[in-house]
Homo-oligomer: 275 residues x 6
């Protein structure tokens, strides 16, 4: 591949993906509104840009085959604050990808697109949308848009509904929801290297014993996670404070299922960790 | 009921609903970015306002029980043009309704939220989103938001996926897709008077012999359309220029299934009418 | 037909069925723990019997082709009080029917077998059980037993999930849930006269505009209700006191969805009627 | 339309369709292996031909828009006897239609393509195949072929799963399964005049109170049957000899569900009529 | 955890669970109608009690968080014999758990709740009830009750549909249906330690190559069985006496699918083992 | 087992199965229209026969318990060329198996029976037919016939929808679709040794990371493939020439999804391999 564009390259996950992506194309263009967290790679270019501004974003995609779109505010915020980076930003990516003839968007969607689904009934990748936050609603918007760009314009997309992607699982919920960095890299690699994908949704979750969602319908991607949060069960399971009436514990969206719309979910996530 | 707010009151459908809504509440506040098409009713107030501006919209909802949200650009346009009235406008309505403690949003969604579904397989109201245009994508966005406001904040919503609402059916496609004004009024009446609705989606279509969608799952609404486009079949059916390869004829979205994203669908609709 | 047995013949619904059943067989044996409400019919015999006592029940079924089992306590009660008439009583009927070689049980099941299902998603007759009360649980028990007797012993059953069967609709909920006496008689007639039924579940509801359930899957029964609660809408609809957080209004079981387990639902039903 | 071809034009149903089809096109070519049952219509040509012989069949379709394929042996027979007319004959029609660029095949499929489905669970038009005879298996073969010709070659097809098409209902089963000649004509008319159909399956059954199948998924066809076998219920229902263990009574295929493979079902049909 | 109650502690499976449960709580109260099979554990108390007697059962649950309900007659018997221990006993457990504010019931349900399902179509945990015996019907009753207690009273439940739990697989059927004691212990452990479960059904089956059921929908439980009956295949497979017409071989309930209602299934199980 | 018959014994797959089948029965009768590829085994007999000729085929099955039917033309051809070996041949096998009282047919069906299904939505074994070629249509025909022979005559069948069975995976598509010879042998072994199967469909695919289909519903067969095409990924993946508009890449049928009906697919398969 000649060129890949990575957005959100200074975010936790984007940063983690730089080396992987650089190895898959002759040229990697990394972009973020912030500075890079580390030295650039040999074939990497860094462009500071605001996702919400089409004229900053569109030129970056010229000549690329794929864009790996991980840029966004990664927390619940008032709609007005997410509108630019998360909503318009997604539109700008898909539209720019179309205008420049890219083949595919690999998108960091989120479990929060279906965050209000019950975690004890085993949802598949064809589950209808059921967002838990404005953050999750932006993912619904982008997924629906991605399906439309595929059907109307032939632009492929893989939407990765990422759960809890951290170096190590952080709390009892993560025994089911953890996605290791290693598995994230594999998942993004598969999303890029699979010859054709059309429009595809996949859950971003490791091979956790307690994973509440299934990728059985997208076996063709060949995603075979290698990590398992169960290795932390002895430590994390006792931290749970079980409350069956607490949606933060019974819906796949976790704390976002109960956070007030527009309010940061960070406190909830911390609370779940018993800290 | 004390007060109902109607948006898009100067639009074709909004205008048609004014008298009905005025009869259902002590006070009707009608709003549009344009002037009213006719004299105000006795208990009606008119406020010119821009849906995209929260500070213009929010105050109108104060003290109301329900808002009937029909305001939007009713055509395919570039995303940037729809963003204000159709996307942000919908957000403003739901958010304002929440802030002022309204009980329900009755929303003019559209068949274009599922416009790329095949018309020969009989979709139900639980069909997942499959938008055909940025216009339809705005309806997906609002429907997903409506579900979330219901689940997170207890604000009810009825999303009416309106097909082809015109005084008379216009073309062969409308033999299936027509919604008469009389049936529109009944549908909106039911959406208002039904004691509880939670989050509900219903198709806005008359009792056409050839209707390709089903409201069987939302029987509780009691919507029993009385008109039937078949009365125009002798005239309209011969106008069809059958082409099984033309998505405009085989998808429920009709001409919007083939219109270029961002380009007006008016020409396509006219073409379909053989004019 | 030579002989039909009717249980619960002194109950509201059983009483209503006596003449219909008497006209369908040479002999009708009516039974109840109470006295008949009116003169016996020419070919009718009355036997006072306790459903919970096999030796009182079994002999009645000898020589019969079908038993129409409407006998039960028709209210929520502590499990211990329902155990005899509603649980053991149902077992006694099916077992006695088997022992005496009857062909079919026509059973007054109830909407409360699925009473906790949401009324805005249109359940079919194949909806899994979701009882709202010990009363409804007894219906689940009997339906499952009925399926088993059919599959293991070839004893047919039609389980009629009766909604709100009263002379006239009583409250706003009944606009969807009403079953007229006339339609009840038709439904029971069809359940008897249909040549073969295997194991079948059907909803007992009139042709109400607002019916929240569907008999589409059991069209073979030919049940075509003739009454429509909508005739009472003008009076009853205004009595509603809408509260979308009240399960009594949003689940098909109505007041039984919120009644405390084991406590009579009569008060709740009256409350719903605004009396 | 310029030209329609009708096969099986000397059969009970084909004969019945001649006038209708003649009125829908400038030219009707009727074909059968037998002579016509009545005088030719003004714009009708009759060609004796063997469906199993491509060189006899293919030329007939030249210049036609549609072929209405009703020709076949209409009874269960050994596979070897059905192979020519029912299997190869169907292939010849589809292949000839493709070679001559026809737009659509309207096919007399049969309920026997799904004849072993239980009649008390309400099958839809998307029910998978479950043939009851070699006769029904030929319908499965042709339907699968029709789907393939549509998907690979753009040749449309409407497969009408005809039940019991006779002047009057013949037996108790027909209370559910009857298709009147008038409704047959409407159904075929709709199958022809509907502008686009892609690949569509519809049940050929009248508006019988006791119809065990549903056309709800193909509402777009606008088929609204007008006759109802219930008018014969008083006479026919008492003729039933109920036996719940008899598949001829409990499967939609009726007597064909129990007939030995390869043996004529005529006796079974007569037996059902109690004659 | 402070206290767990185990019923059926002198049964094969209950006995096997004592040590596991004792290690998970400060106090284990074991109960059975019989004497313990072995010495009590350090933190274990034994109370002889009859499940059918509320006043014997209820006091045991005071102060407990969970009850692991394995007590029942474990064979097919006449309904009258199962009524006390299996039906009323289950009610007593759920009701006592509610009265004393327990958090959860872990219930030994059984494959016989769905025993008449075909074993070649791969049932999931959301399969509707289809009992094969009065024994299985009691499990249906308890599962439905468990769902209701969860929805009405917030009492959680995990219903384990246990297959064939023995030290070693006993016959060819067990190549699919075996549950090892080790896997049973894991399954019960997961059912207890999972922070929230709401109402959940899971199959109790080892990681057998030939398992005919799936726990894919309840992945959140983290049950990962370690044993595989395939290790016994060489010995057991040749013992099969294949008969495709024998429901004991083709339904998941095995010999219970054919046993006469009310008659012990022990002989059938032995017969299957070829002994 | 006394006797197994293998058809297509000189084909690639049939040849591969001879030793396995010979080890499972006292007698193996191998047949093909061609000569054997290698020396006969000790208990093996070879009979040259034409599948299309019943009098050549039927006698071979006398005294056998099972027939493993792998004989057919294994490529797309005009219908007329496939009619004998693939259609009539399949009928001859099932009919002869019935006449001689065989217990089971193990049939080499093919992925092409559902070849037009999208490979990014994860089809199960209950997916309805959607053939891509006359070759695949023959598999649909035989599968439907197999279901009918099971339901009408009690003759069991396992239909193996074989994907790409070759010594090594040949191209990028085969990373999902490969079936190794070792896994083929296991699959056929399971299809034979499983005591009862009724009518069962299973996919013939190895344990490929990228397998697009699922055997989850037929777990009872115990098929646990051991090979994984992923071992060839480094070599094969780069050979892909991704084109999301090419049905040969996006449908499970691969090149057969685009081959012209009746034209050999060999060129397409080679093209896919980049050779």
């Amino acid at each position: 591949m000649k060129k890949i564009v990575l957005t959100g390259a200074a975010g936790n996950l984007g940063h983690e993906l730089r080396a992987t992506l650089a190895s898959m194309a002759a040229e990697l263009v990394s972009t973020d509104i912030a500075e890079p967290r580390s030295e650039l790679l040999a074939n990497e270019t860094w462009v500071k840009a605001d996702l919400a501004e089409m004229d900053q974003i569109a030129p970056l995609l010229e000549g690329a085959e794929m864009v790996v779109h991980f840029g966004a505010i990664v927390d619940e915020k008032p709609f007005e604050e997410l509108l630019g980076p998360n909503y318009i930003g997604a539109y700008n990516i898909w539209e720019a990808a179309h205008r420049h003839g890219l083949r595919r968007v690999v998108y960091a969607s989120s479990i929060h697109a279906v965050g209000l689904c019950e975690n004890n009934r085993g949802i598949d990748t064809d589950e209808p949308h059921r967002p838990d936050t404005f953050y999750g609603l932006a993912k619904c918007f982008a997924e629906d848009m991605g399906r439309m760009y595929w059907e109307k314009r032939g632009l492929e997309a893989v939407c990765l509904r990422i759960f809890s992607c951290t170096p190590e699982p952080q709390n009892a919920r993560a025994l089911g929801s953890w996605l290791s960095y290693r598995d994230l890299r594999q998942l993004v690699t598969r999303a890029i290297e699979t010859p054709t994908v059309g429009f595809t949704v996949a859950y971003g979750v490791s091979a956790n014993d307690r994973a509440p969602v299934s990728n059985a319908r997208v076996g063709f991607l060949g995603y075979k996670p290698q990590d398992n949060a169960e290795d932390w069960a002895e430590t994390l399971l006792p931290q749970a404070r079980p409350d069956p009436a607490d949606l933060a514990q019974t819906r796949v969206g976790g704390p976002f299922a109960t956070v007030a719309l527009g309010e940061s979910g960070v406190a909830g996530i911390k609370a779940l960790s018993g800290k």
